[in-house]
Every structure is written in structure tokens, then in C-alpha cells.
């Protein structure tokens, strides 16, 4: 309203009936500053926005707060919650986190300038949702140091299972036996992870085929994912509503088909990953 407040954008939605959205879905939704989220109507599209204090969301302070990961978590979740609530009600284009304008008029200007383009993107994505699929190789040997090389972990595993060595000559000396065992274990592990990766690629190919578009994310760190397994696939798929069930069924089938891998389906997500048009499905642009 004044020089001291700014307008944070969450999403853009079709222009129709913004009031009902505002009074309905958005009624209880709070934004990144705990503010009431509202609708700013435009001709071609409407924006879902909130008013934020520029003392806290100005360039400098925002920059500073972004480095505060506690704050970042809360704000990122809040941003996402607003977008998710809106997207649940209908088509919505998620906005990149931390985009602030100096007031509603500036946003109105933006909606005027870019409205047509945004409306086109909205139409393109209107009938689809994003699904996330991850695959984990759960059966890593009890080796917590997997990410760190074999250091102490190999030793620990050794003492632990002491399995007799397959195929590697008589263990005449403990040191040699250890090395043989270790090598066997390592190649088994390498083989396992190679197969896991191959499986992940195949799974991705199948799912990408069912989807209108696909995007590969980098696998998440084990500690971050909270899983003991190694993540070998972290992908998002843009799936038409009409094929949503098929897609979920396909994931279930693939889970049966690849018992080595554990699959996790997340979503539906607002179409964050598919704002940019024409990402050809099935062409991984970055190997995990």
C-alpha cells in the first residue's frame, strides 16, 4: 500500500472467478509472511499474491534471510502450500520463490505485459499434473560410509558378516583373504549399483513414455532423503489428468518388475518442473 510494503507472487491462475477462489480456497491460507493471501485480477490471468513488509522482504533483508535455513524452510513450505492450495482448485502456474514487486500496480503491469504468454502456458498445463518418482536401491550392504569411500565401513562390514569368500583362492594369509573378500564385495556392489542404475534408466524411459514431459533431478543425498537406500532416480513427469491412474499403475507395476529398487511416487505437484515448454519426454538431459 505504501512504500514500505511489497507484493509477493505465488502463482498465476486463469482470470475467471477470482473472487470465489479468494473467498474459498484462499480464505485460510497464509503466505510467507503469515499474511492473508489474495487474488489480483488481470485481463488474461490473475495473480495470487500476498503483501509483505519491505523491511523484511526488501532486497537486502531478503538476501540475508535466505541464508537463514530455518527461515528458508518455513518460507519455502509456506510458498509451496499456497501454490498447492491454489493448484488443487484449478490450473495454476507456480512462481519462483522470492519474487517481490513494489506494490500491486507493478504486478498489474506485469499481468498486462506478460498476460497473454502466461495464459498460453496456463492452457498448456491446464490438463496435467506433475508426479515425482524416486527409486532407491535399498539393499546397500550395511555400509553407512557408502558416500565416503570404503574407509572404516568396509572394515566394519567385514567383521560383521564374515561370509566365506566366493571364488577367490585359498585364504592362506589373513591379509590376502581380506583383500580378496573385499574385492569380491566391491565388485558385487558395483554390479548391483550398475544394475540399479540400468533399472532406473529403464523405469524412467517407461514413465517418460506415458508422460507429456519428463525432467530428471539429481538424486538426493541419503541423509537428506532420510532413507538408507541410495537414490538412483529422482524424476518428475508431467502427466495428463486422464492418464493419472495409468501412470500410478505403471509405477506399481514397475515396482514389481524391479524388486531391487524401491519406488516412491509423490504428488500430484503443481507443475513446477514444466514451466518451460517442450522438454521432450524421454530424453534425459542429465544422467543421475
Amino acid at each position: 500500500v505504501s512504500e514500505t510494503s511489497g507484493t509477493w507472487i505465488y502463482a498465476v491462475v486463469p482470470p475467471g472467478d477470482p473472487e470465489s477462489l479468494g473467498s474459498g480456497i484462499l480464505a485460510g491460507v497464509r503466505g510467507v509472511a503469515g499474511e492473508q493471501v489474495r487474488i489480483l485480477a488481470g485481463a488474461a490471468v490473475a495473480a495470487v499474491v500476498g503483501t509483505v513488509d519491505l523491511a523484511q522482504f526488501g532486497e537486502e533483508s531478503l538476501q540475508r534471510r535466505l541464508a537463514d535455513l530455518d527461515w528458508l524452510e518455513l518460507a519455502a513450505r509456506a510458498h509451496h502450500e499456497v501454490i498447492a492450495a491454489v493448484a488443487e482448485a484449478g490450473p495454476a502456474l507456480p512462481w519462483r520463490f522470492a519474487t517481490v514487486y513494489r506494490g500491486d500496480e507493478r504486478v498489474a503491469g506485469l499481468l498486462g505485459d506478460r498476460g497473454a504468454e502466461l495464459a498460453t502456458t496456463l492452457r498448456r498445463l491446464a490438463d496435467s499434473t506433475e508426479w515425482g518418482v524416486k527409486a532407491y536401491l535399498e539393499d546397500e550392504p550395511a555400509d553407512p560410509g557408502a558416500g565416503d569411500g570404503a574407509g572404516g565401513a568396509g572394515g566394519a562390514a567385514d567383521g560383521a558378516d564374515g561370509e566365506p569368500d566366493p571364488a577367490s583362492g585359498p585364504p592362506e594369509r589373513p591379509g590376502t583373504a581380506y583383500l580378496f573378500r573385499r574385492r569380491a564385495r566391491m565388485s558385487a556392489r558395483e554390479d548391483l549399483s550398475r544394475r540399479a542404475q540400468a533399472g532406473a534408466d529403464e523405469i524412467h524411459a517407461v514413465l517418460a513414455d506415458l508422460a507429456d514431459a519428463a525432467l530428471l533431478y539429481a538424486p538426493q543425498d541419503q541423509q537428506l532423503s532420510g532413507r538408507t537406500g541410495l537414490m538412483v532416480l529422482n524424476a518428475s513427469y508431467l502427466v495428463p489428468h486422464s492418464r493419472g491412474d495409468d501412470f500410478a499403475a505403471a509405477v506399481a507395476e514397475l515396482a514389481d518388475e524391479y524388486p531391487v529398487l524401491q519406488l516412491e511416487l509423490t504428488g500430484p505437484w503443481p507443475p513446477y518442473s514444466f514451466i518451460e515448454p517442450d522438454r521432450p519426454a524421454g530424453s534425459p538431459e542429465a544422467g543421475p
Binding site: G6, Q63, V100, Y101, T266
Partner: protein, 175 residues
């Protein structure tokens, strides 16, 4: 190929009639999407049209990278005060210890000097309780944390003379 650990624990999430361990998060919020999933999308994706006040993209990318690096290392994350895994799970065992440690850290961090760097140097000595708490806290050394350059306590096997011998094969390449 038979791999013992693999056959030990059969692994399909399908329970009964093919109900995957589906986590349905984003829209209905029965279960909140994980922070990692959200950050991946919220920081990196979505419509990008520069605002009047917006962090320039380079900064955002740096931030994203930084966040990834940071949260990839539990120790490092704890230093930075990220501890959602402690708050929202029932892993309460080491909790007090960790809390105390955090207080100590906070004090350290609050002390004059470069923001967080001292804490990194400080952590290793104070770490044992926390390490015991986190079941598989791998040595975070692999993660890029400049400040943690101080040598950490290595497991004895590491760096022993046996190791070079083991390197004759593809030992060193496994990561």
C-alpha cells in the same frame, strides 16, 4: 548374480494389492512433501520473471547449491541449525545431547568472528554424542565444507599401510 545383502532383504514396497509406499503430499497434504522435494522445485523451478525486488538468479543458484551442500551433510546442517529431522521424528534418543550441543554451538557462533567457521573447527571434538545418536552419520568429510579442513578422527583402518595394497584393484575408485 547373487549378492548376499540383496537377497537378505527382499525389497518391493508393494504391499498386497500393489499399493506402493505412495507418498501423496503436495495437494492434499496428508503428508507434507519433504523439504528437499520442495526446495528442488521452489528454488529452481517455477515462473521466472524478475521482480522489482528479487534475488538475482545467480544468487539463487548459488543459494541452491549451497543449500544442497549444506543439507547433504548432517553435521553441517546441524551446525547451521537445520534439525527438522530431530523435530519431526520420534528419534528422541540423542535429543538432549544434541540440544545441548546446539546451545554450545550457538554460543560459539555468537562469539565474535566469522559467522560459522569457528563452529566447524569446534564440532569434531564435541561430536561423539551426536555421532552416536545419528545411526549412520557418515563422516561428513566428503561434503565440501571449507571450514572443516581440520583433520577429523579417522577410522583406524583408513590410511593404514594396508590400504595402498588394497588399491591395486579398483579399490580406490569406489565412492
Amino acid at each position: 548374480m547373487t549378492d548376499p545383502p540383496m537377497t537378505d532383504t527382499p525389497k518391493v514396497v508393494t504391499g498386497g494389492g500393489g499399493s506402493l509406499g505412495l507418498r501423496r503430499g503436495a495437494f492434499g497434504r496428508p503428508e507434507p512433501a519433504t523439504l528437499a522435494d520442495i526446495l528442488e522445485r521452489v528454488l529452481d523451478k517455477g515462473i521466472v520473471i524478475a521482480g522489482d525486488i528479487s534475488i538475482n538468479l545467480l544468487d539463487i543458484e548459488l543459494l541452491t547449491i549451497r543449500v544442497r551442500l549444506l543439507i547433504a551433510s548432517v553435521d553441517r546442517a546441524r551446525e547451521m541449525g537445520i534439525d527438522w529431522w530431530e523435530r519431526d521424528t520420534s528419534l528422541s534418543s540423542g535429543r538432549r545431547v544434541v540440544a545441548e550441543e546446539r546451545v554450545l554451538l550457538r554460543e560459539r557462533v555468537a562469539a565474535p568472528g566469522p559467522a560459522v567457521a569457528p563452529a566447524a573447527a569446534y564440532l569434531p571434538d564435541a561430536a561423539p554424542p551426536a555421532a552416536a545418536y545419528l545411526p549412520d552419520a557418515a563422516p561428513p568429510a566428503a561434503v565440501v565444507v571449507q571450514a572443516a579442513a581440520a583433520p577429523r578422527v579417522r577410522s583406524p583402518r583408513r590410511g593404514k599401510p594396508t590400504r595402498p595394497a588394497a588399491a591395486e584393484g579398483e579399490d580406490g575408485s569406489v565412492s
